[in-house]
Amino acid sequence: MDKPTTSGNWLERQRNIVDYSLQGLFRRRTKNSLILVMYVLLIFVVSSVLFITGSLTVELFSTAEELPDITVQKMIGGRQVTIQEYYFKAISEIPGVEDVEPRVWGYFYLEELQANFTIYGMDLTLLEEGDYERIVNWNAARKNLEMQPEFRMIIGEGVSRLLKEIQMEDAFLFFQPNWDAAIPFEIIGTFKSETQLQSNDLMVMQTEGARKVLELKEGDFTDLVVYVPNPEETEMIALKIRRYYPELRTVTRAQIESTYTSAFNWKGGFVLSSMLVVIFAFLVLIWDKASGLSPAEKKEIGIMKAIGWDTEMILAVKFWESFIISIIAAVLGIVLSYFYIYWLHAPGLKEIFIGWSTLYPSFELVPDIDIKFLLLIVTVTVIPYSAMAVFPSWKAAITDTDYILRNN
């Protein structure tokens, strides 16, 4: 018997099969368009969640090594209270401790703008030296030496934007109803936008000015930070602090990094709920594909068998139909989510992170894309979807052609 003729080389045959598959897709264009849109949306949601949480985690860790080794808080009744000066001397005498710094910081709520500012007290002259000077956009008021040093402050970009709305961009009046008089603070600079994610809501002022605004008594501090040069000793020193003073809580840098690692992990409400919704929607999509062909599709396979198509080619057609939809959806979903997060700054999604804040950064995030995750998304979506299309087609292809054509 003569060998049957074949239509060109392997590449040309596959191209013909792809042509036929695309014709099949266009024949059912409404249904396939909806499947494509849903598929793109599912991958878009998964990628967006992974991108935004990955970028925020990178931002958290970018400065983690500059954190204090141990932060010490005083707890009464399970709540943080101010810590007194006598702890400072006792902790600094523990062997292995290089330095202990008491800190004065807290929050100031401005009712008119419904904004919470973070007030931080420090020696402002430190920010006028070396690298620190280059992280601030200094105002002309910096040179005004007649102003008392404790009534100057440097603010974050978000604070600056809010204060411009109430025409207080050069100076700000702190006032509470129980005070005798308002306290004016001259704004001598704004932190640069590169530090926005850390400094957006910050008002950094001299320690004595912060103490006045936060109404902290002399000798009281918000917390202490302990510097330990040998990282191997940090846990032991933290344990000693807790043993000597059971009312104190220590937060080591390792614990803060552990919190950073788990802040946006899969067990968090936002990530878990997004992923569960996407997984169930995708399972519904796959189930629809695997549950069988429509009568029209079965009849089409029957006719193809009747005119001489073999099972292998029919399966190739069905595989290409699903593969084309899934690969386009995967690539398009991932690319659209990249532009959504890093070009458009995640409108809609960032509001979930911002919550009820009136003071929030612009969400200009650094992209952090793990190729392994992208490959995982593509593998977990494309392969099952393409494979699920093959099985019902195989069942129809091995069924008697006469039976299919008579019963459909």
Binding site: R79, I352, W356, V366, P367
Partner: protein
């Protein structure tokens, strides 16, 4: 034009988008590496933790330093009502003071 040619054009357009995204990614990463010293300098000068993403509540703003009671402090059995609280997993409370110990009572008569 054959359908496979149209598919080829579509895939080329997608590849172009991927290339644009890849170039933008490299550009942003380079910018980040050039400017990271500013973030580190800021962190060294002002040692506060966490990002200024939400300022709705103090336990959300300084997430790593919050205590256990603050999210639920309004009244006994109150729930966390800030929407941004939905986003974060609980922080590391492993070294929180533990004045209450569960287990058998100590034998007061032993020395």
């Amino acid at each position: 034009m054959r359908h496979s040619s149209k598919l080829g054009i579509t895939l080329l357009a997608l590849l172009l988008l991927v290339l644009v995204a890849a170039v933008d990614y490299q550009h942003k990463r380079r910018e980040y590496v050039e400017n990271i010293w500013m973030r580190k300098s800021f962190q060294r000068a002002v040692g506060l933790t966490d990002l200024s993403i939400t300022t709705a509540a103090r336990y959300l703003r300084h997430y790593s330093l919050g205590d256990m009671a603050t999210p639920f402090q309004d009244y006994p059995a109150s729930l966390d009502h800030f929407p941004a609280g939905f986003v974060y997993s609980p922080p590391d409370f492993s070294e929180f003071p533990k004045p209450v110990k569960f287990g058998p009572l100590p034998n007061l008569t032993s020395n």
